[in-house]
Symmetry: C2
Subunit: 224 residues, 2 copies
């Protein structure tokens, strides 16, 4: 029996799927709230809360309380490096490329990422909005352009800049290797897509299926 640092304890913290998802989500560098992490991990809030306290106790996370929001973030670069190392091994040994089924294909095209749209459609939308200078992309940050308010108002989306949560955020897409739009604006756009019934959510999946007419409407609105 070996002595020394308890590596099993740390590894088992990462070894639970829900916690691993949370940690992966935090690898972006931005701190997230408990409810955001719950959605990211696909578990209920109580479950997420339990996991988060375990991660805190294990020293893997830091906590910044802001009013009733509690922002969890990775404890430091050493922890991030560890996740990277594990991810590297997982990617290396796990090229168990399951043949992508129909649902996976749909997922690549459009899916829900927390509360906003991800996938090829979402990436294309963000790039178009930036090209038209409705949004301004400054390195990793995304800002509203001068015409943003009127542009989105015309579509039927008004931008709440008062919220604590940022209006725009870049979120790295898994399938494509580019970013899509998160933040309250990203959420509002997803809301509109579902409200207008341009698309529906697949049951028990993150996939978002556009109807033919809905796809056309979406493209007219955001990809014109």
């Amino acid at each position: 029996m070996r002595e020394g640092p308890d590596i099993a304890r740390i590894a088992s913290l990462v070894g639970d799927p829900a916690r691993a998802n949370m940690l992966s989500a935090l690898m972006g560098g931005t701190a997230l709230t408990a409810s955001e992490l719950a959605l990211e991990a696909g578990v209920s809030l109580p479950t997420a809360s339990s996991h988060l306290s375990k991660l805190m106790e294990g020293g893997l996370l830091t906590l910044a309380s802001q009013g009733r929001h509690r922002y969890y973030g990775l404890a430091g670069p050493q922890v991030a490096g560890m996740i990277e190392a594990i991810t590297g091994v997982a990617a290396a040994v796990g090229p168990q490329r399951v043949r992508p089924g129909p649902r996976d294909a749909a997922m690549r095209v459009a899916r829900v990422c927390y509360d906003h749209l991800a996938g090829e459609q979402a990436v294309a939308m963000l790039e178009r909005l930036v090209a038209r200078q409705v949004l301004l992309r400054d390195d990793k940050e995304i800002q509203l352009g001068p015409s943003a308010a009127s542009h989105f108002a015309a579509i039927g989306i008004d931008i709440h800049t008062k919220a604590r949560r940022p209006v725009c955020r870049a979120c790295l897409d898994w399938s494509v290797r580019r970013s899509h739009l998160a933040g309250t604006l990203g959420a509002a756009i997803l809301d509109k897509i579902l409200a207008e019934k341009w698309a529906r959510r697949e049951k028990d999946s993150r996939a978002v299926i556009f109807s033919p007419a809905g796809k056309q409407a979406f493209e007219n609105t955001f990809l014109a």
Copy 2:
């Protein structure tokens, strides 16, 4: 829910104490047999075998069969780097220095490491043997010196060089940060210590307790 490499799967492999001990033991770089790893992990052979097949399936280990021996080793530097990273985090966040109890003190002085002696006594012994050129230390390797055979024969230990297993091997000591002697010679020395009743093994522990007379005899024999 995140996509991409299944980091939880890899981390959970490391997250079991028995498997973590095995992996730590293999961090030395030398491949070990299933029974060695079972002892190292403190589990029975069937249990160890089950763990090893899981680690194999996870791609963390390589297997080299030599006759009826099966030598398990880390799959590569990437895996080793991952273990390092996890160990680093565990050491950083876990300075939960429990006050060392009496048994821990005894463990630091002398304990069993698989089939040979470890701890301060063992480290001192190896350094003395090297200083007297009975053994020759070449970087990480340990060789028998010219006088080794006669020296150990005088003590009552004959060296079997025929065995597949190496006669001498350096094994990094956990408590002290230096090496002690493993291999068949290390095992033979431990056998002698116990056979002469210079020391006894603590029940349910790896600690080795020397009697006052036994300690004297040991020092006369190996530390002179």
